[in-house]
């Protein structure tokens, strides 16, 4: 039995507007990171994999099942939408039970699963709270619990850490890693740090296209020789930002240490080649594929 998600030449339109172009991707077991800026098409791709959207053409199979068989696909995928929400008047455990029923889990088993998952995502003490009374982090944990309910082979989580505080974010990432054993977990994010610590394989998307795919190490390797640091006097900073892609800045007393991406050695005094970090490597990847990223992320 096939355990991969295979996407071949997939296109997707919203009306006349093309949203995804010729997507070609193989996703294997373990954590898979889908990186891209806001509006890159990550959500569209993930919804298509979860059989919530219909593609126009191309082939998509999830563990051997073509994505057109929506019912089968839904039976084996768990999906956590970008802004997960649940009927606000339901209690936390009721909401899980309800979603379990929608997933077709028989009553006895459902009860057991709900208990287990509440425990796992640390919501047991909040189980009597109504959904609308949960904090952002708790809600997101409820979200991952519901995605795990029917023990799916594939879990798709869309921007799960956006808006969480650092502590919640780390807890959430660890939780995802835990569940990624013998499953496919696809995580989409625009935050590089989420991918860095958890995913082996990643793909980078922009404007509906896959720009790059491979491992984290390959991405770092790819950027080698293009990341520099330099100490810049403050009055030149705005010019530097115009000319280079600045991926990091540390302000000192009378100068600023910047980390920047450049194709060739920059024409700056004291510019030093450095080991790429993932964020810079990601920016380089976007840049080398012709995306406009200047002006930097400040």
């Amino acid at each position: 039995m096939d355990n991969n998600i295979i996407i071949r030449n997939m296109n997707k339109f919203y009306g006349k507007k093309q949203a995804l172009f010729n997507i070609d991707l193989t996703i294997e077991q373990g954590m898979f990171g889908l990186l891209g800026r806001n509006g890159a098409g990550k959500t569209t791709l993930m919804k298509t994999l979860a059989a919530l959207h219909q593609k126009k053409d191309g082939e998509v199979t999830v563990c051997g099942v073509p994505v057109e068989k929506a019912k089968k696909i839904r039976a084996m995928t768990g999906y956590l939408p970008q802004d997960f929400s649940m009927y606000p008047n339901m209690r936390t455990d009721e909401a899980l039970d309800y979603l379990g029923a929608l997933a077709g889990i028989p009553s006895q088993e459902r009860k057991k699963r709900v208990e287990e998952l509440l425990e796992k995502v640390n919501l047991t003490s909040h189980r009597r709270k109504k959904v609308k009374e949960l904090s952002g982090g708790m809600k997101r944990r409820l979200g991952i619990a519901q995605a795990l309910l029917h023990d799916p082979k594939v879990i798709i989580v869309d921007e799960p850490t956006a808006g969480l505080d650092p502590e919640e974010r780390i807890r959430f990432r660890n939780l995802l890693c835990e569940v990624a054993e013998n499953r496919i977990v696809i995580l989409s994010t625009h935050i590089v740090g989420d991918v860095e610590s958890t995913c082996e394989n990643i793909a980078i998307m922009d404007e509906g296209r896959i720009l790059w795919k491979g491992t984290v190490n390959e991405l770092l390797e790819n950027a080698k020789g293009h990341i520099y640091t330099a100490n810049i006097e403050k009055q030149y900073m705005s010019q530097i930002k115009k000319e280079y892609i600045v991926t990091g800045m540390v302000t000192q007393a009378d100068y600023t240490t910047v980390r920047l991406v450049s194709d060739a050695e920059p024409d700056l005094p004291n510019a030093v080649l450095t080991e790429p970090d993932l964020e810079s490597a990601y920016m380089y990847c976007l840049h080398s594929n012709g995306c406009s990223v200047k002006g930097g992320e400040e």
Binding site: P88, N89, K130, K132
Partner: protein, 408 residues
Amino acid sequence: MLFRLECKKIVRSAAFLIYCVISVLFIATNYYSDCKGGVYFGEGTKIVEDHELIMYGALNSLMGEYAANKYVCYPFGYYKAVHLKEKDQQKIAGYLREMTGTDEKEFEELLSTGEKYYVGMSDKPVYGFHDVRMTEGFSYDRFLEIMTDTDDMLGGGSDYAPDSLLALYSGVDMTDEELKEEYRAFIEDDKVTGGLARLFCDYVGIDLAILPVFVAAWLTSADRKRRMHELVYTRKISSAKLVFTRYAALVFTMFIPVVLEMIVALIQAVVEYNGESLDMTAMFTLPTFWLLPNLLFTTAAGVLITEVFSAPAAIFAQVVIWFKATITASRMLSGKIGRFDLVCRHNSPTDRSAFLMNHDNFIFSRIFWTVISLVLVVLAVYAYDAKRGGRFNGIRLFGKGGLLRRKA
């Protein structure tokens, strides 16, 4: 600037589109079709306010209803048969004896002269009286006192309410002379459009007392639904400016279809009355003065209730207000406008004199509802400002801390 953006937002919404469609449908099926081929002057009744006629009609009717102890009322605009308790029946009998000037024995005799018949499958008889006379020289004021008390006993909406007395018992068919005079007044005094404008307002006033609430509720709840409210809350703009701008945008955009309908009505009048000298402005001035308060109030109530409670609550409240103001209002569709009527009715292109008789009340009601509307908007500003500052989160009817929360 903000005003233009808000207008754009409203005009592009589904709620506004449907507002336009329903508004046009309503006016087309009522007014435009009524006025096709011109106004018909072949027959008509008029209310003469002849006290003798009224007392005679009401007395005979009350005799019949008393005899059967079945009083037909329309408390909410719908038929409802009221049966009185023995004590109240005694009181009615007392009134009847007083009006007919009979003692108990004579009254019994009088009662037995009623014509007895059965209606439908009911096995209970009803009685008809046709020639019972009031005692000579009975004062009309005393008669009105009795009728008012009787109507109260019956729970309102009976044939004996002062309004109904006029409409039911003192209408007489118009003579040819009178019809001619009506026609002359329509053409010469009202210059056609003046009369048509009243009929136009009668119909449009009905839908302006309900339709705007949907658009208002939609716009007011849109921010929250799109999770925009916090973004808007933190902007510099003052609550008063924001709420008033949105209110103005709602009123402005929703009045556009009404103006277009006025133009079409004027064109229709020009076509139908080709050759008469028409007043070209009357189709705009009177409807604006008549209808704007309806729109102002319905929108203001919608905005305020949505802000304080929720969109469905606003819709529900307005449905009740509308029901009260139209369906269950007085049975007189023309010739009677109260000082506090939200929906002024005058369901006739003619009858100019009756309208003028109520002119003071009409002016009063229009100003009254305009002022009320502005008060409601000011309240909405306060509610919005309090929500914005986190001092107030709206009143919830259900759910945690809700007024109507079910006991767990």
